[in-house]
Symmetry: C2
Subunit: 288 residues, 2 copies
């Protein structure tokens, strides 16, 4: 097998059931150079130990997943969520410093859905903007970029009231691009008639904090959260989307993030190898 694309990063959710040590080991052993981590497995071993393990792995660190869940109304629960995001900002800075050269301090934010019993989508979106405003100074001080991730509109009620890249950029527009950007994830935005224009805009505005790829295929999984597939196994045109991202000058790592019960049931080393192979055939041809 040839070496994996040097820009490929494995998002840890793709090998969800691997603990941090396993995730780092199988990623490095496959010849992949970068990894995006999730908070739970990092906190399972503790931040300092996680940072040491990451440094020992020699891998670049690409994103920390994830913060957000900003739609709660004012009150102690909202404050607790913001405090949790402050810890996530610290974790992101620490891990980015521990990763190999070329690591990026990017914290992915999922907006959150409608609070229970609420139908006020517009109000929920305003609270997302308010929360980003509350966290931006701390992110800036820590050298961390907050990446607002639009999620597919099928998650608008229960996961993320930010549904399009344009909407994420509208929120980010109030802030320094070094501090607040957007996550460009093919699964969430491939369907958007404005997607190519909005990727170009994100580039012009310096907002592409991370580019993430995986594929879309129907029928959707019964749990629609788990409908993400290896690149090339579905209908997403990685050519046009990747070329649009490349055209903005984005030259950093590209994460593969797959939530899929079959993938999770497979052995982590096999998953990483298959991720590298499918990335090489579906995405790499469109990179410079």
């Amino acid at each position: 097998m040839t070496a994996p694309d040097p820009r490929l990063s494995i998002n840890q959710a793709t090998i969800k059931h691997a603990d941090l040590a396993t995730a780092l080991r199988v990623t490095a052993e496959a010849g992949v150079q970068a990894i995006g981590l999730w908070r739970e497995p990092v906190n399972e071993v503790g931040l300092d130990e996680a940072a040491r393990m990451l440094a020992d792995s020699g891998l670049r660190f690409t994103t920390h997943c994830r913060g957000g869940f900003f739609t709660l109304p004012v009150g102690p629960e909202r404050e607790a969520a913001l405090d949790d995001n402050r810890r996530a900002i610290e974790e992101t800075a620490t891990l980015a410093a521990a990763g190999a050269e070329g690591s990026t301090a990017v914290l992915v934010l999922v907006a959150g859905g409608l609070p229970p019993g609420s139908r006020d989508l517009i109000g929920a979106r305003e609270r997302v903007r308010d929360a980003v405003g509350a966290l931006a100074p701390e992110a800036e001080a820590a050298g961390v970029t907050l990446a607002i991730e639009p999620l597919h509109p099928m998650y608008a009620s229960d996961r993320a009231v930010v549904s399009t890249l344009g909407q994420a950029l509208d929120i980010a527009a109030d802030f320094d691009p070094e501090v607040v950007g957007a996550a460009v994830d093919t699964f969430h935005i491939w369907w958007d008639p404005q997607v190519l224009d909005q990727i170009a805009r994100a580039g012009r505005e310096g907002r592409i904090a991370t580019y993430q790829v995986c594929d879309w295929k129907t029928p959707l999984a019964a749990d629609v959260l788990l409908s993400r597939h290896y690149t090339g196994e579905g209908v997403i045109d990685f050519g046009s989307l990747t070329r649009a991202v490349v055209a903005t000058g984005y030259d950093r790592d590209i994460e593969v993030e797959i939530f899929n019960a079959d993938v999770w049931a497979d052995a982590p080393d096999r998953v990483v190898r298959h991720t590298a192979e499918t990335f090489a055939s579906a995405v790499s041809p469109h990179l410079p």
Copy 2:
């Protein structure tokens, strides 16, 4: 029980397992004044007989469902699909003429998904525009309005490459508003950050061919096609959407269209009554 809202129309899909005779009877017996029909049950009895039955029912006819499926590449299958749409245009005109005063000749169009093996979303969308152009003269001659229906982006690959109201209006813009408009269906567009602006635009441009309502709730059904609910049972804010439609001057009937296995398993007369009750509480308060 009080009389149903005079603007309520029952879309026949809400009582999917009722044949045409039953659908007309339970709708009229509940005191509902209008109905939207589907092609299959109409063609089961034949168009002339269906028109007679509709006339006898005293109901207004609001829409015919449905045409479309326009994304096939050039070839005999595409021609067959266009011919089928020509028959649907005729059916629509005939049924609208048979319905009570105030009936509307509106044919709802679902764009169609990506052809098997294709990832060319942009090309598929162009073929939708081409097909509308091919059918528009015949719709105009028949006095029928083609209503392009944007479907929720979760159906973008397998059902409809037209995903937003703005996109439907962009396609419609090439044509006379009497001939090509859009279907405004709450389930499909409630999540869209541009929805209120695009409803206002649809009104300005004279393009609201039909307003359809039902609710969104999670978890989505395992078959995501069947995730539509009675108004008020989910998270859609019928206040803001209905007021936006009313503000455009739209004063015609409003259809309830529910695809839901539990609703379909219920007795049609009970479903129509419950539809009327939930419409009265969730939608009627926002009508003039």
